[in-house]
């Protein structure tokens, strides 16, 4: 051995090595599974005094994995307040039976008050603490206190946090008017000058009082239900407002987030029958050029569609009919995209689409000029939208069922 060790006898070298192994083991701690208070959802808001108020939804494992359910709720809620989130978390041991274990966190809900004030300072601990993984969704409570939202007992899924996460993921991939955002994405969006973040909203349907009771799930139609809402728009780390459903969908079209959704439109101007097209596999490309002094953005969307539902008398054997349907669907997509762009440009005046990032990649010198007040330039940006929809399949029948003859 040709190192600094070599003057020591082998036994001492071995001893030093072993001692290092024992003490240089980094950050670890042995805890039995039944000592963990597994937190699945964390709600953060600010009190009127300016303190952080934390709500943690902790699961009760034996209630969830049991074959003979008792009347005890599957999750419990614990609350605390503190000047920092860290203090509030530690203070929580005053009321919670075990130390809160955060690695399995599924959901972070930010209270509306805190969202309007700015969320970046809040995210530091969640991003820094090794116990937090980056695999939880960040959401905003819409028009409701975080605590009320987390108190709702859900019917189908025993763990409410799981229910919300699953709802977001299902809605994201089948309805496309929402988009789950993980912590690393929100942090990088806030810190990026070329893109403003968005977050999913969560709201409560029904009465607040009914949700906080096990009887909520004893009804087939629960009186209180958690509902996944559309996207909220942020500028920097402050929430400005909400997009509506069409705008949220348009947003996801532009970003290529749409995995599957559907489009409705009437067959003819005056008829009552409608056509439903299922959209699959969209592929969006954003290109940036500079025309004159203003940047110009081209959004190209290629999508594949299936005929989902036809309520009127059309002849689907003709290619022209399909082409007509495709044209109308393309028009619908364009409308939604334009609505989203208009909302961002005029209502909120911030670039939620990351067009700035595209410009930064395509034309870095120009980006240097506009980076400082990009949102001003964004308002002037011309956005061209091109949509190409291909209708591929018609389902198990060819002609509509009400087709005569």
């Amino acid at each position: 051995m040709n190192n600094n060790f070599s003057f020591l006898p082998i036994s001492k070298r071995l001893f030093i090595t072993l001692a290092c192994l024992l003490f240089l083991t980094g950050c670890w701690n042995s805890r039995e599974l039944d000592d963990l208070g597994i937190a699945v959802a964390l709600g953060i808001d600010k009190t009127q005094e300016g303190n952080y108020s934390l709500v943690v939804q902790m699961i009760n494992p034996s209630e969830i994995a049991t074959e003979a359910p008792s009347t005890r709720p599957p999750v419990s809620l614990y609350q605390s307040e503190g000047e920092t989130i860290f203090e509030a978390l530690r203070k929580m041991t005053l009321s919670a039976p075990r130390k809160i274990y955060m690695s399995q966190l599924r959901l972070l809900i930010i209270g509306p008050g805190l969202a309007e004030e700015g969320i970046l300072p809040t995210l530091d601990l969640l991003y820094r603490d090794p116990e937090f993984r980056t695999s939880f969704l960040v959401t905003v409570a819409k028009d409701i206190e975080v605590e009320a939202l987390l108190s709702v007992i859900t019917a189908y899924e025993k763990i409410p946090a799981n229910k919300i996460m699953d709802s977001i993921i299902a809605a994201e991939s089948h309805w496309a008017a929402t988009h789950g955002v993980y912590i690393d994405q929100i942090v990088s969006d806030i810190r990026s000058p070329g893109k403003s973040p968005i977050l999913t909203g969560i709201l409560l349907e029904g009465s607040e009082e009914a949700g906080n009771n096990i009887s909520n799930v004893e009804n087939v139609d629960s009186p209180a239900r958690i509902h996944v809402d559309h996207l909220s728009v942020f500028k920097g780390d402050r929430m400005l407002g909400w997009l509506n459903e069409d705008e949220s969908k348009g947003y996801n079209y532009i970003l290529g987030n749409v995995k599957s959704t559907l489009i409705n439109f009437p067959c003819e101007e005056k008829e009552s029958g409608k056509i439903g097209i299922e959209i699959l596999r969209t592929n969006a490309a954003i290109d940036a050029t500079k025309t004159g002094s203003n940047p110009s953005i081209t959004v190209t969307l290629e999508a594949e569609g299936n005929v989902g539902e036809i309520q009127c008398d059309l002849d689907l054997t003709k290619p022209e009919t399909l082409q007509e349907i495709a044209d109308k669907a393309e028009e619908d997509i364009k409308t939604k995209i334009s609505a989203a762009i208009t909302a961002a440009k005029e209502q909120y005046q911030t670039d939620i689409f990351g067009f700035g990032n595209t410009i930064a990649r395509k034309n870095p010198t120009y980006w240097k000029e506009v980076e400082k007040n990009w949102d001003e330039h964004f308002k002037e940006t011309v956005v061209k939208v091109e949509v190409k929809l291909d209708i591929r399949r018609k389902g198990t029948i060819v002609q509509p069922v009400q087709k005569k003859g």
Binding site: W28, S30, E32, L33, D34, L36, I38, P61, Q104
Partner: protein, 516 residues
């Protein structure tokens, strides 16, 4: 079938008590008295004194140990000859000793004896001695024959496809079983005797010019160096000849399957057969050999490969499963998917012990049950399985002593440890499992990785008769990979493994002309 070595006296490594080292005297009576005295006039000693030829006034005696000789052979080919044919022989042509030895005694294996110690040794090995009056030479005729078990089906290494026969306790039968499989004239069977009191016959078998000469020499040298009073099983030899004695891993392969030994010989290995045990040793033994079963070569190569990979997987499970469970559930809960974590946490609610104690408890219980199952008389065997199912199963869970997940972990570990074709590779796995569990309970995955590194270093430092234990994996021999983790078809196994054989490399020239 016996192979007879004509008039070849094997080198005797073991000498009996030096007080016996005296020449055979010409006085028959004193010789007989000496033999009787040496053996304490044992009840199984038969000395038949007779007059051989009245004309020549020649008398002699036939001596043998009852039970060690084949009585029919002694009766028909020795007593019959010396009492009926010799008297009618014309002794004027040749003296009586030569007449008996060279022309009348119809026995294949015959030795001329001059020393009393050799006479005693041969007598005790089951040979029949003919001593003559006025003659300083005696004749030993091989008449070995005793009740043995016969060739039976293998009990510890069963296969679905492949020969079912197993070695027996009788050395000669065993060498014959090997010889019957390999008819190459270069098959060498060298005889040795080991053990001062047991004087156990040991045969070293190899194929000349295929086995490494250095390994053969080394085997001989190590066997010659053994100094022990008795050898009752090949395990005695194994511990004396294996390379570093302080390692839990077996560095000598043993099997009771003649086909496995023949396959080893064909790969250039050296087999050591010990009289009195069906377990035959094979050296050099490499780590990968213990993961292979002879059936891998009898079933088609695709399933052979699959099974080998499965065994490797089972090896890892048997070694690491309980420690991984401990490490992950007590240190790295973030690694467990949420639904599984909730499930495991729910199972652990109310279990009074930490996961480590729980695991040690269950593993120890399993080891106890396993040992009890091996030692128990067959008649009470079912009692163990009933009690075992109670201790290691639902009842333990219902009593709230262990979590159901731990029962599953222990069960999977236990089953996996039975997958190895070699029982002696399961032994280090069983023992190291506990040390890994301690490491896992103190340092988590970090400890397991430390243990794994130490284990790999240790394995790579081992040698078996000069061959690196982990070869051909470390050092990596690309050419030999065809028969390690995967098994190529037989027509693709072109050469012998180079780790054990450097000469006579070619095994096949591949598959030719099948009317393709």
């Amino acid at each position: 079938m016996k192979r007879r070595k004509k008039n070849r006296t094997p080198k005797e490594d073991v000498q009996l008590d030096t007080s016996l080292a005296r020449a055979i005297s010409s006085d028959l009576d004193s010789n007989l008295a000496f033999i009787k005295e040496t053996l304490g006039n044992g009840s199984d000693l038969v000395t038949r004194r007779m007059t051989l030829n009245k004309k020549a006034k020649a008398s002699g005696a036939v001596i043998y140990i009852d039970g060690l000789v084949d009585k029919n052979t002694v009766q028909d080919f020795i007593l019959e000859v010396v009492m009926v044919e010799v008297p009618s022989e014309d002794l004027s042509i040749s003296p009586i000793y030569e007449a008996i030895k060279d022309s009348t005694l119809p026995i294949g294996e015959i030795y001329e004896l001059k020393q009393m110690d050799e006479l005693i040794l041969r007598l005790l090995s089951g040979e029949t001695i003919v001593v003559l009056d006025n003659e300083t030479r005696a004749i030993a005729a091989s008449t070995k024959g005793w009740k043995d078990r016969g060739v039976q089906e293998t009990t510890s290494e069963s296969v679905i496809r492949g020969p079912k026969e197993a070695f027996t306790e009788t050395l000669r039968t065993n060498t014959a079983m090997v010889r019957r499989k390999i008819k190459d004239p270069k098959l060498r069977i060298d005889a040795k005797k080991v053990g001062k009191m047991t004087v156990t016959d040991v045969s070293v078998i190899y194929i000349q010019d295929t086995a490494e000469e250095s390994v053969v020499k080394e085997v001989h040298a190590r066997l010659d160096n053994i100094d022990i009073d008795g050898v009752l099983e090949s395990g005695y030899l194994e511990e004396f000849i294996e390379d570093p004695p302080y390692s839990p891993f077996p560095k000598v392969y043993y099997t009771e399957r003649p086909d496995a030994i023949a396959a080893g010989l064909l790969e250039g290995k050296v087999a050591i057969i010990t009289d009195g045990t069906p377990n035959v040793l094979l050296v050099p033994a490499l780590f990968v050999n213990f993961m292979q079963s002879s059936e891998d070569y009898y079933q088609r190569y695709d399933i052979g490969t699959f099974i080998r990979l499965l065994r490797l997987f089972a090896f890892c499970i048997a070694l690491f499963m309980p420690s991984l469970y401990i490490a992950i559930t007590t240190f790295h809960q973030e690694m467990i998917p949420a639904p599984l974590l909730i499930n495991l946490a729910a199972q652990r609610e109310g279990v009074p012990f930490p996961a480590f104690v729980e695991a040690v408890l269950m593993e120890a219980t399993f080891e106890i049950l396993r040992e009890a199952g091996v030692r128990l008389p067959k008649a009470v065997g079912s009692a163990v399985s009933i009690v075992g199912a109670l201790v290691l199963g639902e009842s333990a869970v219902q009593a709230g002593l262990v979590s159901p997940a731990m029962v599953i972990v222990v069960a999977i570990t236990a089953i996996s440890s039975f997958v190895f074709p070699s029982y002696n590779m399961a032994i280090p796995v069983r023992m190291l499992r506990f040390s890994l569990m301690i490491l896992a309970a103190t340092f988590g995955l970090y400890g397991i990785i430390l243990g794994l590194i130490a284990l790999v270093l240790h394995l790579c430092s081992l040698q078996s008769f000069g061959v690196p234990y982990m070869s051909p994996l470390a050092p990596l021999v690309p050419k030999d990979q065809k028969d390690v983790l995967v098994r190529f078809p037989h027509w693709g196994l072109l050469s012998r493994p180079s780790s054990t054989s450097h000469q006579n490399e070619k095994r096949t020239s591949g598959r030719k002309g099948n009317g393709e």
